[in-house]
């Protein structure tokens, strides 16, 4: 477990060693502001809540989160440092989890920097701050799910751009799996239980509930399981692909 922390620290520091972290944070903050105030009509709604802010997160993350995940493994494989990492006395679990947690912590930092939103809404009215906190946790879990997918895709592709595109595509499928776009493809032949299973995979439906301030244990379990499953897949892919 000690080693996990060492990997985590190195990885998190490496985000800030390059301009990537700062560029990402600035773009994230600007876009979330634009979405909230212009597209979401924060003022026009006249309600003291942050749903115009959180509603756009699944779409905002779709392009931004794979950008932080794409380097996780692809860069290690490209530079060959994966050989160094995997021959140090570190288990695969520690390497995969440490890297993921670093990326997730980074996403958490970016998310926390949106705090002026909370101040604004508290200044303007009397929002339900409990619901806002819940929504933040939900948003962070959502980012974690995207990151876990992105980490697996990054292990799969040696090229970061390909890793990015793969991650965006898979995340998109998880967003739209509750939409007719996907369900229609199953409608004709699949039994009802499969249809329900596919639609229950959707990020949107789960996130919607949490972002409204409703914590359902099943929704939490959904995100946690999803993250764990994709990280397990990452470990397997890293093992298969590391020497290529």
């Amino acid at each position: 477990m000690k080693q996990l922390l060492v990997v985590f620290k190195r990885e998190l520091a490496s985000y800030f060693a390059t301009p990537l972290a700062y560029v990402f944070i600035v773009i994230f903050l600007v876009l979330s502001g634009v979405f909230t105030f212009y597209l979401g009509g924060f003022y026009e709604r006249g309600q003291a809540d942050l749903s115009p802010f959180f509603n756009f997160h699944p779409w905002l993350y779709l392009f931004l989160v794979p950008a932080i995940a794409m380097r996780l493994w692809a860069e290690e494989r490209k530079s060959g440092s994966i050989e160094l990492l995997m021959t140090l006395p570190i288990t695969r679990f520690e390497a995969v989890t440490g890297k993921f947690l670093a990326a997730w912590a980074f996403a958490g930092i970016a998310l926390m920097l949106t705090f002026p939103m909370v101040i604004t809404v508290n200044y303007l009215g009397e929002p339900d701050n409990g619901a806002i906190l819940t929504a933040y946790i939900g948003s962070w879990l959502l980012a974690g799910s995207y990151l876990a997918i992105g980490s697996c895709m990054s292990a799969l592709a040696k090229n970061q751009v390909i890793a990015f595109i793969l991650a965006v595509s898979v995340c998109f499928l998880f967003i739209v799996s509750g939409f007719p776009l996907v369900l229609d493809a199953f409608n004709a032949w699949a039994p009802q239980w499969l249809l329900d299973a596919v639609s229950s995979l959707s990020f949107l439906i789960r996130f919607d509930a949490i972002s409204k301030g409703v914590i359902d244990l099943r929704d939490l379990l959904y995100f946690v399981t999803l993250i764990a499953a994709w990280l397990a897949a990452t470990a397997v892919v890293v093992d298969l692909k590391k020497a290529d």
Partner: protein, 307 residues
Amino acid sequence: MIEISHLSKRFAQHTAVDNLSFRVQQGEVLGFLGPNGAGKSTTMKMLTGFLAPTSGTASILGFDIQTQTLQAQRQIGYLPEGAPCYGDMTVRGFLAFIAEVRGFRGAEKKERVSKAVALVELENVLEQSIETLSKGFKRRVGLAQAILHDPKVLILDEPTDGLDPNQKHQVRQLIQSLAKDKIVIISTHILEEVTAVCTRAVVIAGGRLVADSTPFELESRSRYHQAVTLVAEDALDVAALAELPGVAGIEENGIANSLTVLAKPGEVIFPQVNDLIRERGWKIKELDVERGRLDEVFRTLTRGEAA
């Protein structure tokens, strides 16, 4: 002790390592030789637990690399081919990371890092990021990383590849100074390196072991072993030289009045040649007795297999 038994690695199309077995004892510096693609790096990757063997296994100081991977990896300092590092880290940051992974904290961590830094002379570039360093410095960072925890086993994949002659000399001296109570395995295709640092040479070709011996013995397998090369002012009597006892043949060299007299295996011909020179009164400008040409032995050993 490192024990490699029936180690094999097959990839989709080809067999990289084919039923390789040998042992390395403490105090040995083993030169691992072979043409490119012979399976040197693959073997080292299996020894360090990076690749899983298709069949067979190896153990490092009694720890099996497949079932006790972590314990085995703790004993090893490994320099992968090309010395990959995290380019965006500073030298200090990178070595501190390695020290922490190796379980050192606080004062001991600092001490380990500064000791490794001193050994490979990295003091002047400590705060530079690794990607801005020259090839020689990068290689030294890789070496520092490998020796930081004072491992009992050092596995170095082409440690001097791409270095200038001074740096090569420095790295070899470092290896020799470290080797006393360790097991060192060096892969290389630079043959002078083997004579310079190794106590034992293992040659592989096509994934198979073709020779396992001391560099000295390998040299004596050369047809140039005990050969005498002469450079004279006047023409030499080829027929008289060829009739001397123990002479296997005579080769003419590129320069005028220069011959190489080859000895039959196991025979010493220098006294006979010397007597003949004195008897005839030849004016000899250069005279050289060879130990053998390792590159020629290497070619003979690996040519058939590698094709």
